[in-house]
């Protein structure tokens, strides 16, 4: 009976992992779902909103699009809007971003001496969103005890569930 329940639990975990990896492949983005961490895109997005991204290689980057990018050397994804692009004939593109709610563009956020972003810095383009849902991730980050409690509850539920 215990063996069966452990197997059941393992199946659930590996299915979740498969779905996540599948999403990464289908969207072309290394992180197809991100949580908005700051208020720099208000009133459109607030801290805690969830964004769904795609990152298809042939999708051109155009002014007005909302992109999620990472500054070289930093791990934190930033969600801002593209306000300027300069693209060469061969497709090489450099662009500038700015948060809707910020007074100035993002040059202050880029690396020292870096004035433009390039395609390689982009994690994905925001295609859809759900409000509030991402708050769970933020709470789990700020209050690790909550994360452990949640995992304990989930584990207990799966292990105690009886197949009728």
């Amino acid at each position: 009976q215990l063996y069966y329940q452990v197997l059941n639990f393992a199946m659930i975990v590996s299915s979740a992992l498969m779905i996540w990896k599948g999403l990464i492949v289908v969207t072309g983005s290394e992180s197809p779902i991100v949580v908005v961490l700051s208020g720099s895109m208000e009133p459109a997005f607030h801290r805690g909103d969830l964004l769904f991204l795609t990152n298809f290689h042939d999708d051109p980057i155009r002014a007005g699009e909302i992109v999620v990018f990472k500054v070289e050397g930093r791990d934190i994804p930033i969600v801002h809007r593209v306000i300027k692009i300069h693209e060469k004939e061969n497709g090489d593109i450099k662009f500038l971003t700015k948060g809707d709610n910020n007074e100035v563009d993002d040059r202050g956020l880029y690396k020292e001496g870096q004035n433009w972003l390039e395609k390689k810095d982009v994690v994905g383009r925001a295609r859809g969103f759900l409000p509030y849902v991402g708050m769970v991730t933020i709470i789990m980050n700020d209050y690790p005890k909550f994360k452990y409690a949640l995992l304990a509850v989930m584990g207990a539920y799966v292990l105690l569930k009886r197949e009728s």
Binding site: P43, G64, E65, K84, E87, F129
Partner: protein, 138 residues
């Protein structure tokens, strides 16, 4: 919608800087219906210019933007607006550029769901003059 533009270029350091003033008359709809249906939280409207230079095959610069919240009027009637952001080129491609195309676009932000980017129909193309404006220094 239409835009009227009065412009001149001025060099700063080594890149061209363009100055434009414009009027915007626009009515934002979803086909024939009101753009604000049950799932639209707000619109992020922006005016962008698109042009080609010797340096870069495609350039786009957002000159101005505005948030229209649900409940506000989706009609715009603005006169003598100045661009909110500096219109710098990557190089000196504005001087004598015959074709600077202005387009109004908007991002529809839903309460939940897909985030479409829509371009308004109608656009205006203007040329930049061949000479720089001399700015006085004090």
């Amino acid at each position: 919608f239409r835009k009227n533009v009065e412009d001149f270029t001025g060099p700063r350091e080594r890149s061209d800087l363009g100055f434009v003033t414009f009027d915007i008359t626009a009515d934002i709809l979803n086909g024939k219906k009101c753009i604000f249906d049950w799932n639209v939280k707000q619109l992020f409207v922006y005016l962008s210019v698109e042009y080609s230079t010797k340096n870069n095959a495609l350039n786009q610069v957002v000159l101005w933007d505005k948030v229209i919240l649900r409940g506000d009027n989706p009609k715009l009637f603005l006169k003598d607006m100045k661009s909110k952001y500096l219109f710098f080129d990557d190089g000196n491609g504005l001087k004598g550029n015959k074709n600077i195309t202005f387009t109004l676009s908007w991002n529809v932000v839903p309460n939940a769901g897909i985030l479409p980017l829509v371009t308004g129909s109608g656009h205006v193309s203007v040329p930049f003059p061949d000479t720089y404006e001399i700015t006085k220094s004090y």
